[in-house]
C-alpha cells in the first residue's frame, strides 16, 4: 500500500514546533496520471529497443518506479540535535 500522508515535524532553533500533514494521495494522482500517460511511449520505446536487448530493461525499470512509490509506506526519518529537529514519516 502506498503512503497516503506525509507527516512532517520541524523544531527550530528557538524550540518552536511546526507540524504538517501532507496529503500525498493528491501528489500520487498527478504522478500516476503522468506515468499512465507516459506508458504508451515507454512501451513504444521498449518495442523499438527490443532487438538491442534493452527493451525489457525499459519495461522493468518502468515498473520498478511504481514499486518504489508503492513501498515508501513506513519510511521514517528522525534527525535531532540539541536545538533543532526534523521528523518525517510516510503513512
Amino acid at each position: 500500500m502506498m503512503p497516503l500522508f506525509l507527516r512532517l515535524r520541524v523544531r527550530d532553533k528557538d524550540g518552536r514546533l511546526f507540524g504538517l500533514w501532507l496529503p500525498l494521495f493528491i501528489i500520487w494522482l498527478i504522478i500516476f496520471s503522468l506515468l499512465i500517460l507516459a506508458a504508451p511511449f515507454v512501451f513504444l520505446a521498449a518495442l523499438c529497443a527490443w532487438r538491442k536487448g534493452t527493451g525489457r530493461i525499459i519495461i522493468e525499470a518502468y515498473f520498478a518506479v511504481f514499486s518504489v512509490i508503492v513501498n515508501l509506506s513506513g519510511l521514517r526519518i528522525e534527525v535531532e540535535s540539541k536545538n533543532e529537529g526534523v521528523y518525517i514519516k510516510l503513512k
Partner: protein, 140 residues
Amino acid sequence: MNEERKKILELLSEGKINADEADRLISAIEGTGSTDEDQAKSASASFPKYLRILVEPGENSEKQERVNIRVPVKLIRAGLKLASFIPKDAQHKVNEALQEKGIVADFTKLKPEDLEELLQQINDLSVNVEGKETVKIFCE
C-alpha cells in the same frame, strides 16, 4: 471441505477403503497441511520488515545529534532493483563518488537476481559501532 478430504470420504462411502485407512489418510493430509502453514508462518516471521539505523551521541560528543531512520525492507528491494537499471557509465561515476567518501562498493556488479539473497542476509545484520557516537544498524 477441501478436495482431498472429499475424495477420501467418497472412497470410504464406495467401500474402496475402510474406516481405518480413511482415518490414516485424513490425518496424513492434516499433517502435511499444518507443516506447510507452519513453514509459511515461520518464513514470514523470520523475514524482517524494516532496517533501522540509530545514531546516538556519546557522552563526549560535541554535536549531540540523534538520528533514527526506519526503512522498509520492501523499499530497499525496490530501490536496489531500480538501481540495477542505472546505465554502467553512471554506475562507475557513483562508485567513484563513493570511493572518494571512503566507501568501497561496486554497483556495477549488482544484479536483480542477487537481491533476494542479499535481503535474506540482511535479516541477520546487526552492526554496533561505538566511538564519539554510537551507531546501531539492525533489522526488525
